[in-house]
């Protein structure tokens, strides 16, 4: 929203390799029964800088870890690994008065205007709370400050004694913003500040945030799933997928010339409010976001990517390749119910395999079920070979056969974010990737 800010030498916030895992099955009882704890990798290695006076957008779909990243960055949760520097100090090493100062300088505005205000406190007390905690000035001064804040965010001061439930969502969000501003912070994390609001009210709040930033020289980290809001308000944007940043760059670059296939798909998916929306050329992503408990190897987007990279020596159409990769996924997850192949119990499994005479018919029936497109002869043959292994329920062999031919660079290597002005974590843009490729081979 503000004009282009030239990056100063020293960023205000510098995040380096931030990780936050949550552990499931981690109670004493689970230990007792021998269940291994499972890591949910909510945030998995984030690195980015936020410069003074800019607005960085963190965008991604639900479950990509963007909110966790915001909270961990403010040390509302302890990180699993990584460091966050605020004004040059590592936030996780702060103690005592240094920590108190950080708490004054960095504030947060939450998504849910209903849960972010304590229902049993008057809104005046809510906004005054930060001043009380930090013991700012005498009581009169605090009261006056609260009144000023109320006026600044567009609320009437004669409502100070009311309770939050008497206010609408937009007004509550203003109260939350007033509370965050009470200590005159430098840095605000805005965690989906408008996603619970109606569009007309959202526009009011966005305008307010823009004005406040100009007035108080604030630095924002805006976390949102709403791409229009991100576009409207941010200077730079980081796109997250499954706990990782896949692309980061100036807002125009991200929106006008997205590099990562995920960013492209995300942008294409947003329906535009204009009459030519139905004619717009859209490319929608298939499938769902995989679980962060067991994220895909290599590039995490490869299971849905419409541009997944086939091996160099393989000549194959992208759509055929995508279909084969999806099939491989299912075989490796053992997610095909072989017993029901062919409908009415056509194939008897004895000791896990069916009579050799039936194998061809079985493969035909199975292919019918799991593939919805004709493959070129060469690939059809390879796939049939793998499916034939399933006739003897040999999942491993079927998986191995397919992997040997079709393994992609996208699953072997985790792509790195580059260093330039618009880095992207995708093998399609890897100039320096050859080296690592050599290593693998």
């Amino acid at each position: 929203m503000s004009a282009e800010t030239p990056p100063t030498s020293q960023p205000l916030v510098s995040v380096d390799g931030l990780e936050k895992y949550f552990w499931e099955n981690d109670s004493v009882l689970d230990r007792l029964f021998g269940d291994e704890p499972v890591a949910v990798r909510a945030v998995d290695g984030l690195t980015f800088d936020i410069h003074e006076g800019e607005t960085l957008g963190l965008v991604g779909e639900s479950g990509c870890g963007k909110s966790t990243a915001g909270e961990t960055l403010l040390r509302l949760q302890e990180p699993t690994d990584g460091r966050v520097e605020f004004d040059g100090d590592n936030v996780y090493d702060l103690e005592g008065s240094d920590l108190t100062e950080f708490r004054r300088d960095a504030q947060v505005v939450f998504q849910d205007p209903f849960s972010s205000l304590d229902p049993r406190m008057t809104i005046g007390d809510i906004v005054q709370q930060p001043l009380d905690i930090h013991d700012v000035g005498p009581t009169d001064e605090r009261r006056q400050r609260v009144r000023d804040l109320f006026e600044r965010v567009g609320l009437s001061v004669d409502q100070l004694d009311r309770y939050p439930h008497e206010f609408s969502g937009g007004q509550r969000q203003r109260i939350g913003i007033a509370r965050a501003l009470a200590l005159e912070p430098e840095f605000l994390v805005l965690d989906e500040p408008t996603s619970a609001l109606d569009v007309s009210v959202q526009a009011q709040v966005l305008n307010l945030l823009a004005d406040l930033q100009d007035e108080f020289d604030l630095t924002y980290l805006l976390i949102s799933h709403n791409l229009s809001v991100i576009r409207h308000i941010c200077d730079r944007v980081a796109v997250m997928y499954l706990g990782e940043i896949v692309e980061i760059g100036p807002v125009e670059d991200i929106f006008e010339a997205p590099k990562h296939p995920y960013t492209e798909a995300l942008l294409a998916s947003v329906p535009r409010a204009s009459t030519d929306e139905r004619e717009r050329d859209r490319q929608t992503l298939a499938g769902d976001v995989p679980s962060p408990r067991n994220p895909p190897s290599g590039c995490r987007f490869r299971t849905r990517c419409p541009m997944v990279i086939p091996p160099d020596d393989l000549e194959i159409d992208q759509e055929d390749y995508r279909a084969i990769m999806n099939l491989r996924e299912r075989i490796e997850r053992r997610d095909i119910s072989l017993e029901t192949v062919g409908g009415d119990e056509e194939f008897e499994f004895t000791d896990g395999s069916i009579p050799p005479a039936d194998v061809d018919a079985f493969v035909d029936a199975l292919r019918e079920r799991v593939l919805d497109r004709e493959l070129p002869a060469r690939h059809a043959e390879l796939v049939d070979g793998a499916l034939a292994e399933l006739a003897s329920t040999d999942w491993d062999a079927a998986g191995t056969q397919l992997r040997e031919v079709y393994a992609s660079v996208c699953e072997r290597d985790r792509p790195d974010l580059g260093e330039d002005g618009h880095p992207v974590a995708c093998h399609l843009y890897a100039d320096n990737e050859c080296e690592t490729l050599e290593n693998v081979r």
């Binding site: 109670s27 004493v28 708490r103 947060v108 849960s115 972010s116 509370r179």
Partner: protein, 334 residues
């Protein structure tokens, strides 16, 4: 702290619920009985049937083979039927049942309130800390609570009384001191061990409720906001978590008073209360005479039933008024 909305909910639910009104009337009646027992009582509850100057047992009414004692080689009984002098009759040793009913209400209410208070004082902080911190702390604390729950409360109570012995604390009676209740006992015994024990066996329920509340409140954004403002755990627990978890605690406390009255009655029935001024003890005393003097057991029994019912009715009313989830069920237009 109590918002207008809660007040309006309370009054609306009260207006709509006949049961809540019945409960309130009953409870107020019982409270008055207990509080003003020395003023309302017609006899000293400890005074047994007495003898006149000639040595005759008085009043020698309702002779029966079941309820009798030997006086000077004669079978007499002191159990009187309800009459103008003894509104609800007398028990087997000639004590006035009506007066004992009033003083019994005192004991029950005192044990109920103090026992619940003790349980709240132990259980709520325990549960809040456990739920707020979560993780290993919660694991350890809740295992302790589970172990407490694994024992039947009556058995646990008996065991504790066995260890500690029956101790009563005499509480001086202000009415007697003020001189408006002559001839009444100068103090009312509070069964201290029983109070302590019922508190110790019921705090777990409060711990569990408070823990559940704390677990959900700690994830509320206003708690995160307070933390990001620099508030420490103690401030957050006292300022946000405690006030917002009180509603279910209040509802539970109401219902627990009733449960504790029942538990106290059971204990005193078994003879462990340390005072004879108790409904449970009275039932036990009267049960041998049920055929001839039904009132001795029945009157305190009705006292127990009515007080438990009235408290539970009020508990339901509180729950319905304070719990938005139950109220919201009717809607469904999203």
């Amino acid at each position: 702290m109590i918002s207008d909305r809660i007040k309006s909910n309370l009054s609306r639910e009260f207006r709509e619920s006949l049961l809540a009104k019945v409960g309130l009337v009953l409870l107020v009646a019982i409270l008055i009985m207990g509080l003003f027992a020395p003023v309302l009582a017609t006899h000293n509850p400890h005074t047994t049937g007495y003898f006149d100057d000639d040595g005759n047992a008085y009043p020698p009414m309702g002779v029966s083979y079941d309820s009798h004692q030997w006086v000077d080689g004669e079978r007499v009984t002191y159990t009187a039927e309800p009459s103008a002098d003894h509104y609800l009759g007398t028990n087997n040793i000639g004590q006035d049942v009506f007066s004992r009913l009033l003083f019994g209400a005192r004991t029950s209410l005192m044990v109920g309130v103090f026992g619940t208070g003790l349980a709240v004082l132990i259980g709520v902080p325990f549960g809040l800390v456990s739920g707020y911190y979560g993780g290993r702390v919660d694991d350890a604390m809740m295992r302790v609570a589970d172990i407490m729950l694994a024992f039947p409360s009556l058995v646990l109570a008996l065991a504790l009384i066995g260890v500690m012995g029956s101790l009563t604390i005499p509480i001086p009676d202000p009415f007697v001191f003020a001189g408006v209740a002559d001839g009444m006992p100068a103090s009312t015994p509070l069964p201290g061990t029983v109070t302590l024990v019922v508190g110790l066996v019921t705090w777990v329920w409060f711990a569990r409720v408070a823990r559940g509340e704390a677990m959900s409140i700690r994830n509320e954004e206003y708690v995160k906001a307070a933390r990001s403002l620099g508030a420490n755990d103690r401030e957050i627990l006292l300022k946000h978590v405690l006030p917002n978890s009180l509603t279910p605690v209040i509802v539970l406390a109401t219902i627990q008073v009733a449960a504790i009255i029942l538990l106290e009655s059971s204990l005193s029935y078994l003879g462990f209360s340390g005072t004879t001024l108790s409904w449970g003890y009275e039932i036990q005393q009267g049960q041998d005479y049920l055929r001839t003097a039904w009132w001795v057991s029945t009157v305190p029994g009705i006292g127990i039933v009515l007080s438990v019912i009235s408290i539970n009715l009020l508990g339901d009313w509180l729950r319905d008024s304070l719990d938005p989830n139950i109220e919201g069920e009717g809607g469904g237009a999203g």
